[in-house]
């Protein structure tokens, strides 16, 4: 994503401007504020030297995502040479054994392998620190360790905390960081930031509580709440697509758009995360964050600037324009499902209730579809259909803008009616953008068939797109919050999803399982959209 340009010193008075234009006087060398040498360097910018402190370093997320992303940043020289990491975990490692463990993860999970030397340099900067997150001793010894590391690595007291733990550990860790004063920023550099993984709360109340705990210690400008979907290349491109092109935005409203579908479908089941998923479900795991974030990016007004808060203000307005659903709304406009056994990609898979660590009578939803309306001037009357599920027919994430039909059928003699135009933004896989329009079939008759103009990233830019985690971690290190969710955004999203959960609690036990693995969800989801005379896109 393009960051806001750095301001260039400008002549301040009309006289200075006239003289500067005539070349009679140089532009004033007024350097209070922006660094003029920074201009044009944004793609090369390397974060300040700092120590990253990763809590939950032995966990699955750290091994699959965080360390590989950091290693890629190291490989591409985007981490400062004076960078170091303290990896905090409960398991009994020392620096040597932990580094061996990380090396294995890197070999398994890195999108581009590091050469031997780069890997050694990267691992040499990772130090293991063992302890229990609830134990004061962990934080006291960590504080002492960080002091010596700042001196040894000359990191200017800059600290990036990364919470890749179970959410239940967040309040304790944050409070302990505050107790030790590790959150205090210093006048001469010395920034302190904290990156927090989703889920951020499990309902509106808990999110508010968590925000309160977080903001007792950190300021909002220090908090980076990760929703990794926002770091995906296609999602970032959505902003460029909408606001960097002149031809789409005039059509982007209720006058031309019939409805919008957003799908995040996974072919995988819960894998070895049964216990986690039992407590979470599809609405909390995907609807509250990924789907509503995508919706807000699609529906938002153009921000006045590309500054983080301007962007987030506009997203927030969208979320607040969605009325929290009533019990009746939930019964009518939200469908939940749970997968039964079935076949996915030619392989027989078991039912959700047969997965490890899952209750055999589980009522946790693995699928949710919902119809929302964004009640504002631009979108009034345009339904947004959202769906997500596990064990669906294929892995596919997409935003589809379905345009209205032509107002007048001109080609009455045509053998085929023209279909309305469609713009599909494929988030994954085969990232790209597709525009469908009608075209005459060559021949003597007047057949109209839909054809597509298809932009695929692979054929335009075969460069390796960075993983979302690389983008987001680097942004956090650089202090750019544009792609991170703010506390009020999180709460606004929960204010939409929490009433859904509350309504489900009041309803009789659902007739789960209600869709076969390898299908596109329960029949009720089809009915949800067909009721409006529409249908889900076949992906």
């Amino acid at each position: 994503m393009t960051r806001a340009p750095v301001a260039v010193p400008q002549p301040r008075t009309i006289r200075e401007e006239r003289l500067a234009r005539d070349g009679k006087r140089r532009r004033p060398s007024h350097h209070a504020g922006a660094n003029p040498l920074r201009e044009g360097l944004r793609l090369e910018r390397v974060p300040d030297p700092h120590v990253a402190v990763l809590f939950g370093a032995t966990g699955d997320l750290s091994h699959r995502k965080v360390f590989p992303a950091l290693a890629q940043l190291w490989r591409t020289n985007l981490l400062p040479a004076d960078w170091a990491m303290v990896a905090v975990g409960r398991r009994p490692y020392d620096d040597g054994t932990f580094r061996m463990d990380i090396a294995e993860s890197l070999h398994r999970n890195c999108r581009v392998q590091l050469d031997e030397e780069a890997e050694r340099q990267f691992l040499d900067r990772v130090f293991y620190h063992r302890g229990d997150f609830a134990d004061n001793e962990l934080y006291d010894s960590l504080t002492a360790k960080l002091e010596s590391m700042h001196l040894e690595h000359e990191t200017g007291s800059n600290l990036l905390f990364y919470l890749a733990t179970q959410p239940s550990a967040f309040p304790e860790i944050v409070a302990q960081i505050g107790r030790c004063g590790l959150d205090h920023e210093r006048h001469e550099g010395g920034w302190r930031r904290i990156v927090v993984e989703k889920p951020f709360g499990r309902d509106l109340d808990s999110a508010k509580r968590l925000n309160r705990e977080m903001l007792k210690v950190f300021r909002e400008s220090q908090v980076y709440r990760i929703d990794h979907y926002l770091g995906k290349e296609t999602v970032r491109n959505l902003l460029v697509f909408r606001f960097g092109n002149g031809i789409f935005e005039p059509l982007w409203n209720r006058r031309y758009v019939d409805h919008i579908q957003i799908t995040v479908a996974e072919s995988l089941g819960v894998e070895d995360r049964g216990a986690f998923y039992e407590e979470t479900g599809a609405a909390r795991d995907v609807l509250q964050n990924h789907l509503l974030q995508l919706l807000s990016l699609v529906a938002m007004e153009p921000p006045a600037t590309f500054a983080a808060d301007a962007l987030r203000d506009e997203k927030l307005k969208v979320l607040r324009a969605i009325a929290p659903p009533t019990r009746q709304d939930v019964a009518r406009d939200v469908v939940r499902g749970q997968y039964d056994k079935g076949w996915v990609a030619g392989v027989a898979v078991k039912a959700y209730r047969a997965e490890a660590e899952v209750d055999v009578e589980s009522e946790t939803e693995t699928f949710v579809a919902a119809r929302f309306e964004v009640d504002d001037w631009r979108w009034s009357g345009v339904p947004f259909y959202l769906r997500t599920g596990k064990r669906m027919a294929k892995r596919a994430s997409e935003i589809a803008i379905q345009f209205r039909d032509v107002p007048h059928r001109l080609f009455e003699d045509a053998n085929t009616d023209p279909q309305p135009n469609l713009l599909a933004i494929r988030v994954q896989p085969d990232e790209g953008i597709l525009l469908r329009f009608g075209s005459k079939v060559p021949g003597l008759g007047l057949d109209i068939r839909p054809v597509t103009m298809d932009f695929t990233y692979g054929t335009a830019f075969s460069t390796d797109a960075p993983d979302a985690y690389e983008t987001l971690i680097l942004d956090a290190m650089l202090g750019d919050q544009s792609l991170f969710t703010r506390a009020d955004e999180v709460e606004a999203a929960w204010s939409i999803v929490t009433p859904v959960h509350d309504a489900w609690l009041d309803q009789p036990a659902p007739a789960f399982p209600n869709y076969a693995a390898g299908s596109w969800g329960p029949d009720d989801a089809d009915e949800l959209i067909q009721r409006d005379g529409r249908h889900w896109r076949r992906l």
């Binding site: 000359e154 075969s462 460069t463």
Partner: protein, 392 residues
């Protein structure tokens, strides 16, 4: 025509199709045949049939090879970038200017499989040798072979001659020109002046690999002034010295385009004006000296040769000095094996050293990077214009 249907391995470019032609019409016809064979299939890794995808649709790359060996080197580099950008590459190699007019073209389609599940992405390469008078009329040769509506980048490896007929023929159709100023003969400075005129003459962008290679230096210098305490000194610079590698110290023996770009970048970003252009000293090891003005302050600048085993003209050290009231700032950015290290001293007190990794980039990396960062680059334009003023 030769067609390969061998299975491709992900990420490994392979030659899918090749042919030969002796005329422009023949080349165009052969290029058309590649894509009329759109039902072309290749055997996938599991024995399945895979459709060879259409050409990537990004840009035309025209390479003015000049000599055969340059053309071969360039062909190898571009082949490595298959699927990564150039949709059609025309490597133009004028030959035998006094002989009869003739054309010989090798036409190839290289494809790459981005991943197991994706279709192949292909790009075309035409290796064109133009003999006799056809080599004098390159516009007539190149223009019909460009893919319309795609931007045209002209890569001019080696020593470009911006006043030559080739330049006059090809540059009007270019959106961007790629050069490597650090490879030019002598001190390379004469080429900078000629190159700085191109954007206005032909409405094009210029990318110089010599400037690109210094990205990490610029990052290192800029980062130093990100510190709030040091930023105010930026408006008070009163000396800039750049040390470069030399073997014998005689002026004109080392290409100083890269060290000159450091000065030009700083001067252009800080709104300095040239009082006295950079001139070589008359004796060995004196390098180049000039004078800039920043407000009322005069800023002496120098390029100093230092005996070093590093390639001639390589930047070794950039030194900046600033005086603000009675306070003095001294910054020294020094090259080391894998990067640069910044040392700042404020009023005699050393600040923490900072290292920036900057491994040497290969020509292929620079080409890819340049192509990827398409768009107007006002910074390069300003640096180039300032460099021209510095050596005018």
């Amino acid at each position: 025509m030769t067609l390969s249907t061998a299975p491709a391995a992900p990420g490994q470019p392979m030659l899918r199709w090749q042919s030969r032609a002796k005329s422009i019409d023949g080349i165009a016809a052969e290029l058309g045949r590649i894509w009329s064979a759109i039902s072309l299939t290749a055997e996938g890794p599991d024995g399945d049939e895979r459709r060879v995808a259409a050409r990537s649709s990004v840009m035309n790359l025209v390479v003015i090879a000049g000599r055969g060996e340059i053309g071969e080197r360039v062909a190898a580099i571009v082949e490595g970038l298959t699927g990564r950008h150039p949709s059609r590459t025309l490597i133009v190699n004028p030959a035998d200017p006094d002989g009869p007019a003739w054309l010989d073209a090798q036409i190839q389609a290289h494809c790459v499989l981005p991943s197991d599940s994706a279709p192949e992405t292909c790009s075309e390469m035409v290796y064109l040798t133009c003999g006799g008078e056809s080599g004098q009329h390159l516009a007539g040769v190149v223009a019909p072979l460009l893919i319309h509506d795609l931007p045209v980048t002209v890569w001019w490896p080696g020593e470009p001659h911006f006043e030559s007929r080739s330049a006059r023929e090809l540059l009007p159709m270019a959106d961007r020109v790629l050069v490597d100023g650090s490879g030019w003969s002598g001190d390379g400075l004469a080429g900078l002046v000629a190159m700085a005129e191109l954007p206005a003459r032909f409405d094009l962008q210029i990318a110089d690999f010599a400037l690109l290679r210094q990205a990490r230096w610029r990052e290192a210098i800029a980062s130093t002034f990100d510190r709030p305490t040091l930023l105010p000194y930026l408006g008070h610079l009163d000396r800039i010295d750049v040390h470069y590698a030399a073997q014998d110290g005689a002026p004109g023996m080392a290409n100083v385009v890269r060290p000159m770009y450091h000065v030009a970048w700083l001067a252009s970003r800080l709104g300095m004006t040239v009082v006295a252009p950079m001139r070589p000293g008359t004796e060995a090891w004196t390098g180049y000296a000039g004078l800039l003005r920043s407000g009322r302050r005069r800023v002496p600048v120098s390029l100093k040769p230092v005996e070093s085993p590093a390639p001639r003209g390589t930047t070794l050290i950039v030194q900046l000095h600033a005086t603000r009231g009675r306070s003095q700032l001294w910054i020294e950015v020094t090259a080391y094996a894998d990067g640069v290290v910044v040392q700042a001293t404020l009023d005699g007190e050393s600040m923490p050293e900072r290292r920036f990794l900057a491994p040497r980039k290969r020509e292929a990396d620079l080409l890819a990077e340049t192509i990827e960062s398409a768009g107007r680059d006002q910074i390069s334009r300003d640096v180039l214009a300032m460099a021209a003023r510095l050596v005018a």
